[in-house]
């Protein structure tokens, strides 16, 4: 798996220098990801969000958010509840289309494709940009069919191919050994952590380029949460991950980049975005600093 990590060689040197400078003062205490596993990160945007605003009926939920999501990196979005992180996430794969009162404006380009293009096939977009929800949602089907259903929907019908893919993704999420003897039993009988890993496997089966995760660990017990977190770590470099989390320590442990959202003038906006270490150790904005120190939010 390691061999698939993006090579470091074309990451701009000056960028790394800047981060190291910022990190210098107290790097001994860093739990940050740049030490643990970051060589993946080329700052090469796969998603560019420009001036994204989002309304629910008359209420503004997101105000003018612009940021780039970098390929192969884990980007964490932090901030208090109700500041639009989840809305932001669902705009990226156009899940906001499902909510009739929701209006989105601005631009999102995904590999230079305009996500809001009305001619774009949303099914294909969502195959490329997968999403994991806060609460694990295994379908009321067998473990195997949970993974097969979306695959068949996207045109994979040969049973041998399906079996192979099921085995592969269950292996990827570390579930194969636990469930290989009961692939045909109901997925809803799995434990919470296993269910969440199954959901991740189900999303990975479609070979997405980006994985959006909306607080994937918050409904799980600490041990399952740890397992899922390790799993997310292992996705670095293979997939681009955007994760919303309330767990600052977790964001700090796993993310390469972090964005801090806050409610400003009754609408969520992006206060600060940068390398994870910089956000946590040398925040540029006083709100970020207050939130990270725990004095606000």
């Amino acid at each position: 798996m390691k061999s698939l990590f993006n090579p470091i060689n074309h990451s701009p040197q000056n960028d790394i220098d800047r981060v190291e400078r910022i990190a210098e003062p107290n790097s001994a205490y860093t739990l940050g990801p740049l030490e643990s596993g970051s060589p993946c990160c080329d700052p090469e945007p796969i998603l560019s969000i420009k001036n994204l605003s989002l309304h629910y009926a008359e209420k503004m939920a997101l105000d003018n958010v612009s940021l780039d999501i970098y390929q192969g990196c884990i980007t964490a979005l932090i901030g208090p509840s109700g500041c639009g992180k989840t809305s932001f996430l669902s705009a990226l794969n156009r899940l906001t289309d499902m909510i009739a009162s929701c209006r989105v404006s601005g631009e999102i380009s995904f590999n230079n494709i305009n996500v809001f293009d009305s001619a774009l096939n949303v099914q294909h977009l969502r195959r490329d940009i997968g999403m994991i929800f806060q609460k694990p949602v295994p379908f009321p089907l067998s473990i195997r069919r949970n993974i097969e259903l979306p695959l068949r929907e996207h045109g994979m019908h040969r049973q041998t191919e399906l079996d192979e893919r099921v085995k592969q993704v269950l292996n990827d999420v570390g579930l194969w050994q636990e469930v290989k003897h009961r692939l045909n039993s109901p997925a809803q009988a799995l434990s919470g952590g296993q269910q969440q890993r199954l959901c991740i496997a189900r999303a990975l089966a479609l070979k997405p380029k980006i994985l959006l995760m909306d607080e994937p660990c918050s409904a799980l017990d600490p041990i399952s949460s740890g397992v899922v977190e390790d799993l997310i770590q292992s996705l670095r470099g293979l997939y681009t991950v955007v994760i919303v989390t309330h767990n600052l320590a977790q964001a700090r442990r796993i993310a390469n980049y972090a964005g801090f959202f806050w409610v400003k003038d009754r609408a969520g906006s992006l206060i600060e975005f940068g390398k994870c270490q910089q956000i946590f150790e040398a925040p540029q904005h006083e709100l970020t600093a207050a939130y990270i120190n725990g004095s606000r939010g």
């Binding site: 794969n93 009162s101 997968g130 929907e153």
Partner: protein
């Protein structure tokens, strides 16, 4: 404290009252009707205005009428429920109007349906007094029940399924067929049973549409007498027909129970199969 005890007592009293009423009715029917039941009663035609003979043609007519009603109403009902829940996402004016109409339709007295069926199906469409007119009229009558229960069932399916399915690039139709409908199936079947029950028990709507000829029907264009009309006729118009009326009522109740059990069993079996099996369904 005392207030609490009184309330508890009251609640128990109500529960006992309901149970006792049901048991009394059932006991009355069994005591008076059971002695009349025999193989002959189920397989022979009635004679002497129902005082003698059996109820074979009446059972056949009833089955035909109910079958027609459900076969017509179930797809219409399911389609309407899907439209209201899945495709009219928010409460549009149209969806609200349709639901209001259904509520009114559900509370229309059955005799009104009977008169409508007589005017529209029997006279205007020229179907006359026939099992087909009866079935169509009953279909109109059970439609609101079927739609209401199917809508409730579909609304009760977790939105998480819809969002998760969409996030996997699964189309609405696939999600509906593979996730939402199977999940809502118990509610849909419950509605179906309610509908069948209402259709089997119907008298007023059928007197003017399917008629009360007690011959064995040759086709659905023949007039046919349903069990409930037979019971009504025996107890109201035929002197000395009471015990046969009780027997017919017993048959009706047993038929209802059997249909109930079968549909519940089928729904459970089907749902379980969907969850466990991995056969190729798409």
């Amino acid at each position: 404290m005392l207030k609490n005890k009184l309330a508890t007592l009251l609640i128990y009293l109500v529960a006992v009252l309901i149970t006792v009423t049901f048991i009394c009715i059932l006991a009355d029917i069994i005591i008076h009707g059971f002695s009349q039941i025999s193989w002959g009663y189920l397989t022979e035609s009635p004679s002497d205005a129902g005082r003698a003979g059996g109820i074979a043609p009446i059972i056949v007519s009833t089955a035909l009428i109910v079958f027609l009603a459900i076969i017509i109403a179930a797809p219409l009902g399911l389609a309407t429920a899907i439209l209201l829940t899945e495709f009219a996402q928010q409460k549009t004016i149209f969806a609200g109007f349709v639901e209001r109409c259904l509520d009114v339709l559900a509370s229309v007295p059955s005799i009104v349906f009977g008169l409508f069926g007589n005017a529209f199906f029997s006279l205007y469409l020229g179907l006359g007094f026939s099992i087909l007119s009866g079935g169509l009229t009953l279909a109109c009558m059970v439609l609101p029940i079927l739609i209401r229960t199917a809508v409730e069932g579909l609304r009760a399916t977790p939105d998480d399924y819809r969002f998760s399915a969409a996030a996997l690039g699964i189309t609405r139709t696939t999600a509906l067929v593979h996730l939402l409908l199977p999940t809502a199936m118990p509610a849909i079947v419950a509605g179906l049973i309610l509908g069948i029950g209402r259709a089997m028990a119907e008298t007023a709507a059928l007197i003017f549409t399917s008629g009360y000829v007690d011959r064995m029907p040759d086709s659905v264009f023949d007039s046919g007498r349903s069990l409930s009309i037979h019971i009504y006729d025996l107890s109201m118009n035929v002197a000395g027909g009471d015990s046969k009326a009780h027997a017919a009522a017993l048959v009706l109740i047993v038929m209802l129970l059997i249909i109930n059990a079968i549909s519940m069993g089928l729904a459970k079996h089907w749902q379980k199969n969907r969850i466990i099996s991995n056969e190729i369904i798409i």
